[in-house]
């Protein structure tokens, strides 16, 4: 093969021009004649027994065709992406558990009639006490939100002699940190359209996981998966919020029971009200270090509010616990993370699965230890940083792809440059702060394979079949690059069939920063096998040993350029004329964690990162400006550099929102006028830096970057604020009032 030209390059993305020109068709753009419009009637009470749902007045609205309630759900009225904790009804049965829970579904000839019908659904509730605080939910005698109790899931990580570590510490810091409920706020609200086609229910939707959607739709409807086809439409962002089902069960139910096409698109208000959020955490940390700054022990007790339903609570608890001590060598840990039910809209997956919250804790602790010991914040991280061959808190020995020190060095150089401009004679408090992280790629402690297929078509072009949902992050582009590089052809010669359960194999969720590493691995293997088969076929045709042949620019011939070659179309013809295809799979080397100690090998590989923030604070008003963000990320290998740089910059913007302004108030925030996300004027120029510590098990050395991009940002900004103000903020977001208190020297 020639020198790699595509992997590591910067070609324009295949979807770019259509998106810029507004030609991309999202699920809400799909028009089907004769469709039913849907509207969901929702609970206005946080916790109640449902005595009765009265639908007669809704059915009387002209244009309303049907009104569905829980009793119409033909299958098991319970879904959830993690099967062992699946507990969410698509339409509430005898109980509602949060304001906004779906109670009835109205299908009508017009959107107006559907909405009016939904308004006229009357529910007879018997109120139950509503719990809004997770600590209260765990108290003895608290009302049980689910039959199994209010503790949804608990993960412990126990390793080493924690008490001995604290006993011989030169510095111990103990603090409690709190984070806020955060809304994903993707550009495209949830949308789906469904229709029947030859006895098969087709659902086209905005999703991060079409294959999961199909399996839970099958359970809800009580039909075999083969009778359902889910097609992922172009998706305008997900950030974890489109891993759960949202609108899909409603279009599926309406179409399945009426035979008519149906459509449901959430308004922004409904998206805020009814879909998952980032778990708010309360985190008590106790950390010990010796006189040189080496960590001796970390104790962390993390309590997360998962709201009314489990969704991804199990994964969040596991991942937050595994990452709670940060990307450091810590000989002794006692970590516990609990996710707890309350009567609030459910929390689920959001970019980082609890790791961004934990990072705020462990990175604040690192700065406090550094301060107590008089050590530079970068230096204390460097001397504790995980390196190749080190052992993590779960007892996993790391391989070679551990680029944390390189990341710290890269941002350290920027920090030193910025430090020279820090003290200006204008009296403006300025500060620099560091944040670091590691992040396991793929699902925690479970098999999470992906399968891909690559075919040579009769015309000599290829088709890549992948179930991996591209939600805007660019997995299409990355997978095509891996495929093209392996086959030695231009990516433009590869057709793409993506995210269609009828045509592609399960690639698993687009989450956990896993698609480049895992689906990329599957594509690499499928393309590699196909290449091998084609070269062997050509070897027979040419009478030349396969070992001497190369596939280059659509032809197979001697690698040294001598003699004749055959075109791929000729090879295809030799193989019988139809498409020639090969399948490949990859499943990272991960294993289940010990239930009691959390020891084990949760992930195949880890990404690493460090970021530095530069902030200035108005000394009187406490307005904060983030003047700079430098972000160095060890991604293993950048498959498509602009996409990696884009992920880093976008993640930093999201992290800035988490640090300074984002907090969701149920009943208060219905839209983006009151729920504030950063605007272009709030986000500084981000300086993204790519560190490439190749991962041997990754395609061309690649790992992942989607979630890591966000994780160190809020910690870096909060540490910079502490440096600027002289007092630390322990509660996110850092509102004007909290910064004002910090400026006065009060801890906030």
């Amino acid at each position: 093969m020639s020198a790699r030209r595509i992997v590591g390059g910067a070609r324009p993305r295949r979807d770019a021009v259509d998106k810029v020109l507004g030609r991309t068709r999202f699920a809400a753009d799909v028009r089907v004649p004769g469709l039913l419009h849907l509207a969901v009637a929702r609970s206005d009470t946080a916790h109640a027994r449902v005595r009765a749902v009265h639908t007669a007045r809704a059915l009387a609205v002209p244009g309303v065709v049907r009104v569905f309630t829980a009793r119409h759900v033909p299958g098991v009225n319970r879904y959830g992406i993690i099967a062992s904790t699946a507990d969410q009804p698509m339409l509430a049965g005898d109980r509602v558990r949060f304001v906004g829970e779906a109670v009835a579904l109205v299908a009508a000839e017009t959107p107006e009639a559907a909405a009016e019908g939904a308004r006229r659904v009357a529910v007879d509730y018997a109120p139950l006490p509503a719990i809004t605080d997770p600590a209260e939910a765990l108290e003895a005698g608290a009302a049980a939100i689910h039959d199994r109790g209010n503790l949804c899931f608990e993960q412990r990580i126990v390793r080493g002699d924690v008490d001995a570590g604290f006993a011989r510490a030169a510095a111990v810091v103990e603090r409690t940190y709190r984070t806020a409920v955060i809304e994903h706020a993707y550009l495209e609200p949830e949308a789906a359209v469904a229709w029947m086609e030859d006895g098969v229910l087709v659902v086209e939707t905005s999703t991060q996981n079409p294959h999961y959607d199909r399996s839970d739709l099958g359970r809800l409807l009580g039909v075999a998966e083969e009778r359902i086809r889910v097609v992922q439409r172009a998706t305008g962002g997900g950030f974890g919020g489109k891993l759960d089902l949202s609108v899909q069960p409603y279009v599926a139910l309406a179409t399945w029971l009426t035979g008519r096409p149906s459509r449901l698109v959430y308004s922004r208000e409904e998206s805020f009200l009814a879909t998952g959020k980032r778990h708010p955490f309360v985190m008590r940390y106790r950390s010990a270090a010796d006189g040189s700054g080496r960590l001796l022990a970390v104790e962390a007790d993390l309590l997360a509010d998962t709201g009314a339903y489990a969704s991804y609570a199990l994964a969040v608890a596991m991942r937050a616990a595994v990452h709670a001590a940060g990307p450091y060598r810590v000989p002794a840990v006692r970590i516990r993370c609990r996710t707890v039910y309350t009567n609030r809209v459910f929390s689920g997956a959001m970019r980082g699965f609890g790791t961004p919250q934990a990072a705020f804790g462990h990175e604040s602790q690192m700065d406090l230890l550094a301060g107590a010991l008089g050590i530079d914040p970068l230096e204390i991280r460097r001397c504790n940083a995980l390196g190749p061959g080190d052992v993590t808190v779960t007892g996993q020995t790391l391989g070679d792809s551990v680029g944390l020190v390189a990341c710290l060095d890269r941002v350290g150089a920027v920090r030193d440059r910025w430090a020279r401009r820090l003290r200006e004679p204008d009296g403006v408090p300025r500060g620099l702060g560091v944040g670091a992280m590691y992040y396991g790629i793929g699902n925690t402690g479970v098999s999470n394979p992906s399968t891909a297929r690559v075919a040579l078509d009769p015309d000599g072009a290829f088709t890549l079949f992948t179930g991996a949902a591209d939600i805007g992050q660019g997995s299409d582009n990355a997978l095509l690059a891996i495929c093209a590089e392996t086959l030695g052809v231009d990516p433009d010669r590869i057709r793409l069939v993506r995210g269609d359960t009828a045509r592609t194999a399960n690639a698993g969720a687009t989450s956990a920063s896993r698609q480049t590493y895992i689906s990329g691995g599957a594509v690499l293997r499928a393309a590699g096998r196909l290449r091998q088969r084609l070269v062997q076929e050509a070897a027979q045709a040419l009478g030349v040993p396969a070992a001497r042949l190369a596939l280059e620019d659509g032809r197979i011939g001697p690698a040294d350029g001598s003699g004749t070659s055959v075109s791929l179309a000729e090879v295809a013809a030799r193989c019988g004329g139809g498409p020639v295809s090969e399948t490949g799979g990859f499943d990272p080397d991960a294993a289940v964690l010990d239930r009691a100690t959390g020891q084990g090998r949760p992930y195949g590989t880890y990404a690493f990162a460090a970021q530095v923030a530069r902030v200035s604070v108005d000394p009187a008003t406490a307005e904060v400006r983030v003047d700079g963000l430098a972000a160095a990320h060890d991604v293993g290998r950048a498959i498509h550099r602009p996409s990696v740089l884009g992920q880093i910059s976008g993640g930093a913007a999201m992290g800035l929102g988490m640090a300074l302004m984002e907090t969701f108030g149920p009943g208060r925030d219905e839209n983006l006028d009151t729920y504030l996300v950063p605007t272009t004027l709030d986000v500084p120029r981000v300086t993204p830096m790519i560190v490439e510590q190749a991962e041997p098990t990754g395609p061309f050395g690649a790992k992942g970057v989607g979630e890591p991009a966000l994780i160190p940002t809020a910690p870096a900004i909060l540490n910079a604020l502490a440096a600027a103000c002289g007092a630390r903020i322990h509660n996110l977001p850092a509102t004007l009032e909290r910064v004002q208190k910090a400026l006065r020297g009060e801890e906030a």
């Binding site: 008003t621 300074l660 108030g665 605007t679 004007l736 009032e737």
Partner: protein, 282 residues
């Protein structure tokens, strides 16, 4: 969203005639940036909108030695882009330049900002500083209403049913003047103020404060002037003591509240901080 008729009268008289005919079921609109939000949420469900955008002259800026006459449909962007206003009425320029985002400013109008009568109206606070006078036309003829008496409560103005705001007269202060508006927000665009603070001080030839105006947004049910603070500034030279006394008085008298956007203690403290900042640059 309920259906409604959309009228585009070509003259003020035609607009008044439509409003008279349609009665309380019709809502006059200019940029509709506030009205639209309420239509979408269902808070407003009029049978008709009467757009004033097609009325010639209502979007104009008329500059003269005496001052500025803003057509009620002049956009915030038109004010933002006007260097004459920036030079002579800087607080108005600052306020209009910070409304929403450029996209909102391209559509939203100063007149609409006043008629919406929100306590957070940026332009209203600035216009109070300049003793602006509203020109109102109605079925019974025209009248002038000083802006100081225009706001009756949140969302309520002195406009009688069937009346419309057609223009705003803004005198240019005579004499050496310091004026400014500070909008305090949690993010740097697309947000209502936590607090809006406007101050104007005009000096006589002897250097004494001849006119002082202090106005606040989100410090009461409407944009308000602070007479106590104005009195504290007036009558002598502009000294740090006078400014501090004015700031203290304004902070004490302000009817600030706790809300999710900001807490009362912080708002009160910021009044104390921002009045000196505008006047003394500190």
């Amino acid at each position: 969203m309920a259906r409604f008729a959309y009228h585009r009268p070509a003259t003020v008289d035609e607009a008044l005639g439509l409003l008279a005919d349609l009665g309380p079921d019709a809502v006059p609109v200019a940029g509709a940036t506030d009205v639209w939000v309420n239509l979408r949420s269902g808070k407003l469900a009029p049978r008709a909108l009467v757009s004033l955008r097609a009325v010639p002259g209502l979007a104009g800026l008329d500059r003269s030695d005496d001052g500025l006459t803003l057509g009620a449909c002049a956009t915030h962007a038109a004010v933002e882009d006007d260097s004459w206003i920036a030079g002579r009425l800087p607080a108005l320029h600052m306020a209009c330049s910070q409304v929403g985002s450029r996209q909102v400013r391209n559509v939203g109008t100063v007149g609409g900002n006043l008629c919406n009568a929100a306590p957070s109206a940026d332009a209203a606070v600035a216009l109070l500083l300049y003793d602006a006078v509203c020109r109102v036309e109605g079925p019974g003829g025209g009248r002038d209403v000083p802006l100081d008496g225009f706001f009756l409560g949140p969302g309520r103005t002195a406009l009688a049913p069937g009346e419309i705001l057609t223009g705003i007269r803004v005198p240019v202060p005579r004499g050496r003047t310091v004026a400014g508006y500070h909008k305090l927000t949690r993010r740097k665009a697309m947000e209502l103020p936590i607090l809006g603070v406007g101050v104007r001080v005009t000096l006589d030839d002897g250097g004494a404060v001849s006119e002082a105006r202090v106005a606040l947004g989100v410090a009461g049910p409407t944009p308000v002037r602070c007479p106590g603070a104005e009195a504290a500034l007036a009558g002598g030279p502009l000294t740090a003591e006078r400014v501090e006394a004015a700031a203290e008085t304004a902070a004490r008298e302000a009817r600030v509240r706790d809300s999710w956007r900001g807490q009362a203690w912080y708002r009160r403290h910021m009044i104390r901080v921002l009045i000196p900042r505008i006047l003394l640059g500190c």
